[in-house]
Symmetry: C2
Subunit: 326 residues, 2 copies
């Protein structure tokens, strides 16, 4: 994954420093937790949110920038992301994350709860350090809240065959798009870019975030463990009905009901059959079209940004991220 | 519990407002969580930390005080406390808290994890709102960290028969005394009291917090479910070895080893036998002496505060809280 960023020489150095700062911050006096967090930090996390953040800082005014402050804010974004990942894995009982064992499956839910909590503290500490006099302190508090509410919304609609696209989007907006949007917005803001760029940044992040999540959800229907490094079709089995399934459910509810009525009792084979039905009945295709539409919206806004090397990098990153192979 | 505060007319009104603000803050769009949190707020929580906070605000300068700010800070202290309680109950698998079912036993660990997280967000939001330009933002971040590390320390020494008094005190200092100390300190600080009072407040809170926790741990060896509203002897069974047991372990390790070696397999009857041994061999008595010493330290510092009605209230509250019936 380190290799990924060699395509983005402008931000590679900052990302390396961000990773070092994160490792320094997670250096808890509890050895188990320290080890788990260092592994999570090093296990190929792409630092996507810091990357978007730094690309937008470069559209600002370099003379007014405080490099250390920017590294810390970038770290705060990734740390908040890590904290929610760890707590999500408790809820999902996920065995794998980024190709390595999750903290809860390796050290137990007790360690996982506190590890996530400690990361919230580090997040908070970094913000107290970098934006003491800024309204962004509250912007962050509200983002964190929307993020958690997005997770809760998802939990609340589990195993619900009447889940609507609106339900799904509300959850995605919170649990994924919010943090992408915040990352871009904070990059523009703390990079001292113009208000116009701030506005575009926020919207670009939002649309990229939604597209990213929809494509990720599609992978659950198309990928194998090898390519994705996580168990496939786990969403269906856990009652998390994402966009491909929702599209299919809306047109063929009776076809899927016999499977989905089994809820927790659905076997892996049956889940695979559901995935196959969703693929055949164009659920995946429609979800892809929706994600493409979001990507296109982001592209259009990116085109409105001032022409620059960093805009080019943003275009490239967006393509690499969202135009995957299925 | 409401009745408790009728003895403290000076702060009763503020505590009522604090409780209302907490209920307003926990008003999540997720109905289950909202209900759980409102119940937790109303189920007899004494709002002890806000109470110490308000008593110390009254030793400050009323003309400089912002009443709304003080209510919000008081709420932040209780909300942080509630968040850690909810996550602790996940770890402990506790069925009861304040005499009612815990959130995790009633709604499951999934809801409990996010409910605690949401409260951390509200805590953070209240601080962003009230101490934007203050170094207390970071003071709070560090307190939250010490609190969690205290919990982790306790988890780390579970079922460890070599646990020392230092281990125990380190954990108590973090998980309990830190927040009492912060409550008193913030009361003095945001009440615009003198630096001398701030220093005393911090120390008084620390000693009261330690004494409070030790007395609470003693109850595990002496109380019944009816008086305490929580299952007794649960600490021993969960491998949490507190001061009464540690004192006994240091002098009679061979006597207790046959029981404690059973770890999770220890039955309720055997745990009761351990409790009985600890009582007979003066473990409880020695722990009580230690708690009395901490209470005495707090009393001495309280005596150094300027003579006032609020000092009298503080003395009274300390007596009521720490001089329980055993």
């Amino acid at each position: 994954m380190e290799k990924f960023w060699t395509y983005f020489p402008l931000i590679q150095q900052q990302l390396d420093e961000t990773r070092l700062l994160i490792i320094e911050k997670v250096n808890s006096r509890n050895k188990e937790i320290k080890q788990a967090l260092v592994e999570l930090t090093n296990s190929g996390g792409k630092l996507l949110r810091p990357a978007f953040f730094f690309i937008f800082t470069q559209m600002g005014n370099a003379d007014q920038q405080d490099r250390q402050q920017l590294i810390k804010i970038a770290a705060s974004l990734e740390i908040l992301h890590m904290a929610t990942l760890i707590h999500d894995d408790i809820i999902d009982d996920s065995p794998l994350r980024r190709g390595t064992q999750t903290i809860q499956s390796r050290y137990g839910k007790d360690i996982a709860v506190y590890t996530g909590d400690l990361l919230f503290t580090e997040f908070f500490d970094l913000l107290a350090d970098t934006m003491k006099n800024s309204k962004y302190l509250q912007v962050n508090a509200h983002s964190m809240k929307r993020l958690l509410l997005g997770e809760l919304d998802q939990m609340h609609t589990r195993y619900n065959q009447n889940i609507t696209i609106t339900d799904y989007l509300r959850s995605v907006n919170g649990k994924t798009a919010e943090l992408f949007s915040l990352s871009c917005l904070e990059g523009a803001h703390f990079g001292h870019a113009s208000k116009e760029i701030e506005q575009l940044a926020r919207r670009i992040g939002r649309h990229i975030g939604i597209a990213f999540q929809v494509y990720d959800d599609i992978l659950d229907y198309t990928a194998t463990t090898e390519t994705l490094q996580k168990p496939t079709i786990e969403d269906i089995a856990q009652g998390v009905y994402t966009l491909p399934l929702i599209f299919t459910l809306q047109e063929h509810p009776a076809l899927l009901a016999p499977y989905l009525n089994k809820k927790e009792q659905l076997t892996a084979e049956e889940a695979a059959e559901v995935a196959s039905i969703v693929q055949q009945l164009d659920g995946v295709e429609k979800a892809k079209e929706f994600a493409d539409l979001m990507t296109e919206k982001a592209r259009q806004d990116i085109a409105k940004l001032p022409k620059s090397t960093s805009r080019k990098q943003l275009q490239k990153l967006t393509e690499l991220l969202l135009v995957r192979k299925y």
